[in-house]
Symmetry: C2
Subunit: 530 residues, 2 copies
């Protein structure tokens, strides 16, 4: 039997576009004489459709799309995801289609309602396993989470004789998640003594990245097929044929490709053609620019350098070098006159008060205004450049460097920023000069400022952030990891106090197990303190 | 038997503060010789604690707080909400405490996971009804949602002999919700043939308003006691005594009081002492200022008028009149010079392109910067002034008039803004001049601009927004309500396209059944279109 895993990039809400793509892949599968092709979870609607599911017409339209697809399923079987409705209840469903007929509908039994998932907001749980017979082979149906749970539906289906497990997914990426999936699938293949066919979605959807990497295991737990990661793919293989393996990038390459995919999709799916990045001469904006160029091509990317009286000559040289190395449009717009005009205007209000963060924020906000003016005038999407370390502790200006449509490094800690820069320079051409990498990080918002005036070294800060944000650890537990109690307390306090800023931040790609987005639901009004 | 409903204002995360308040109310109940006092759902943690619940230490601390409270429950019985834990599972729980002992723990059986609620993200469902006996009276326990469902635990408890139903709540406000509650409770009292004691939380928590209005019904469905709305209250009554009734404000007064409470709590619970409002001379900023003054007192409120070359003399006179009528600090900071400086700086970039929304946004963003500079320098929280009609269709500038910490009218449609102004003028003193009310609304960002150049009249716009946003109606259904198809389509398209702006908006009080906040989870990347 010849199987295809159709790892497609769906767009949320684009029922017509998703249907067209599904039909194209069915056509390609037929050309390759495939017997059974699998499409991702909720392939018709895209994932996650969120509150579109509360619109009855949206669900009706998705059912009409399914009927269109069914008509094309003549020479092969198809298992794909859609939204089913019974009375007023919705189900995250899979349709098994043979000979232009829906032979079986499966309703997802395990609905994730943790982390980035809200499936119980929309769906009822299914309560019935499905074992179907196709070309003499018994197959067990299921969707995504169903395969992660112990003693889930697949185990029951195997007991009922299923020799093949069909699992369709929209599984969001985080670093190394693909290895967790492979390990689990291997175990599930062995425990059920069945072939496991796992198809995943690919593409960016707001903050979520679906990384593809679809795969198949034989009943001994051996990987017999794997699709590319971060790209669309039609993975075709014989159930008892030679392995068909695409290697996965791994490590820094994996994160870099994830960011490139997510930027490309956010920009493209939202109808933008060009983007603009404010360059500071620092490593974050340099990396953001490189990612933008790799995602969209240099001709679609603009860069703007906005020096103030506090900007070093080095910053100008370095930012220009990055733009030239990447072949990107580079403008210089100095902000000194505007900054003086604001100070003049406000001086009577500020009386004799000393300069403080107010004046620093003003500079950042002038830059934000300029980028937004270019965005408004030319339709360029502003990419912001702040990293996760800064977003965590609030070392960032609301409406200043935070102003923009998509925050590329929002979930990338500073220490990982350096690793990505190193990887990009080594593997895709040296574009970010050493002088940027070696210079101590600075916001250049006052004289002789460095990040470490305010923050602990990033090698200390980042693991504390990881422990607090991703692992929900308390201060005393973090101290036990080997950090000074006063440092831990200071960092946690900064993270807690910055909640109001994060609430107004643009979205950005999630690459860790817990990003500041759908999986971070922390009240602003919150008096719980360490 | 003498009952007290302790309608308290809890703060999320403030375990020590909430505990202290609970003990004070227990003390007051003892002084009034109460036999049984009820506290709201999750009174110890505040509601909703959101992802604080993912911190094991937070749950542990809440259990310690419960033990502290138990020690004080000597002369009376207490039923109050806390987070229970069994193994790794959490429960939204109620403790019935008698004689310094927890006599019974109830686990909420119906966990709302729709609208603003995410309870299934955190809690497991309880599976056991609780009927306890206290002073010879059988009482059925439950929490919030449990009483809304047909054939819920209270019905079973009544069958097991419960003559009194104890229901503890953190029920968020929207317009006229209190009447829905009263109707349901009356019906539940009759169907169970039991006394129903309903205590609600009071206070603002980020976007949510808990409006209090606790109440009690006898088995015939007669209201025998009601607490104040929008204030703390200890409602004490005899189970067979004279009715104790506080009247509720209703209509415009209800919404106005809700906004005042939410502003006061957002400002106070987040540690701010003063706020600043940008006055435009229009009705939204005038109303926002009045609410701020009623919430915080005039001495805590600052107002700033920031005229541009497009600002009419009338706007200056009107804004000054409002500030004087409200006795509020009033500054004038003209933005013309800064605006010219931006235009000069950007002219070489903009080449010969015509003026468009870019130049309008620049003015709004200069004003945003000035307000934020005052906020940074003096620690004043910026209150933004946009209304729901504007937030819906994106008639608002990101980082401009949207810049600030709390968006007071975010969920108030423009037509309701006028009603609130009328009510405030009539009932609390005429502070907003007629000239503001009668003038056609304008953003004054270009010459002779009015809102109706861009938008349909608010009497048309607001019901379309309500149908689309609150009722999930589709275009053809809205047309059937009596609106022109092209108007409906235009409005829906504007609402869809403004999603990216809303995502970066500050929080604001929810007063309708569906606000732009926790209950509006619409993807930005979304190709579903009417």
């Amino acid at each position: 039997m010849r199987i295809a895993l159709a790892q497609i990039n769906c767009t949320v809400g684009d029922l017509a576009g998703n249907t067209k793509k599904i039909l194209e892949y069915i056509c390609r599968a037929k050309e390759q004489e495939v017997d059974l092709v699998l499409f991702p979870e909720l392939a018709i609607t895209g994932y996650p459709p969120e509150d579109l599911l509360l619109k009855p017409q949206f669900v009706t339209d998705n059912l009409a799309a399914l009927r269109t697809i069914v008509k094309d399923c003549d020479d092969l079987a198809v298992y794909l995801g859609f939204v089913d409705r019974q009375g007023k209840d919705l189900y995250n469903a899979g349709a098994f289609i043979v000979k232009r007929k829906v032979q079986e509908i499966y309703h997802k039994m395990n609905l994730p309602n943790y982390a980035v998932f809200d499936e119980k907001r929309y769906f009822r749980e299914g309560n019935k396993c499905s074992v179907i017979s196709y070309e003499g082979m018994k197959m067990g149906l299921g969707i995504c989470e169903d395969i992660w749970v112990e003693r889930g539906p697949y185990e029951q289906e195997a007991k009922k004789g299923a020799k093949v497990i069909l699992n369709i997914n929209a599984s969001p990426y985080h670093v190394s998640k693909i290895n967790e999936r492979a390990k689990m699938l291997k175990a599930r293949a062995k425990s059920t003594k069945a072939h496991v066919f796992y198809v995943n979605m690919v593409g960016g959807q707001d903050e979520l990245i679906f990384d593809g990497g679809s795969m198949a295991f034989d009943p001994q737990g051996k990987l017999i097929a794997s699709a590319k990661q971060f790209q669309e793919d039609l993975l075709v293989f014989e159930i008892k044929g030679k392995p068909v393996i695409s290697p996965w990038p791994g490590n820094a390459a994996e994160v870099y490709e994830a960011l490139v995919l997510c930027v490309r999709d956010y920009v493209g799916k939202n109808g933008f053609k060009e983007v603009v990045v404010g360059l500071s001469g620092g490593v974050d904006s340099a990396l953001t620019l490189a990612i933008a160029v790799d995602a969209l091509g240099a001709q679609s990317v603009h860069s703007v350098f906005m020096p103030s009286p506090f900007t070093a000559q080095q910053s100008q040289e370095d930012s220009l070098a990055v733009a030239e190395n990447l072949n990107v449009d580079y403008k210089t717009i100095p902000i000194a006159d505007l900054y003086c005009e604001y100070l003049r205007l406000l001086s009577s209000q500020f009386e004799e008060k000393e300069a403080d963060v107010t004046e620093e924020n003003l500079q950042a906000r002038i830059r934000g205004n300029i980028l937004m003016a270019l965005s408004n005038k030319f339709g360029w999407l502003v990419l912001t450049t702040g990293n996760k370390s800064e977003m965590s502790v609030g070392y960032t200006t609301l409406y200043g460097d935070m102003a923009g449509g998509f925050s590329v490094l929002k979930d990338v800690p500073k220490t990982l920023v350096y690793k990505l820069v190193e990887w990009r320079n080594q593997k895709r051409g040296e574009v970010i000069p050493d002088s940027i990498i070696k210079r101590p990080p600075t916001a250049e918002l006052r004289s002789n400022q460095t990040d470490q005036d305010t923050l602990p070294p990033y090698e200390v800060l980042d693991p504390i952030i990881e422990a607090y944000v991703e692992d929900n650890k308390m201060d005393n537990e973090i101290v036990k990891l080997g950090f000074a109690p006063e440092t831990v307390k200071k960092v946690i306090t900064m993270i807690d106090h910055a909640e109001y800023k994060r609430r107004q931040a643009p979205p950005g790609p999630r690459i860790t197990p817990r990003a500041f987005g759908k999986d971070w639901r922390v009240p602003i009004t919150n008096k719980y303190r360490v």
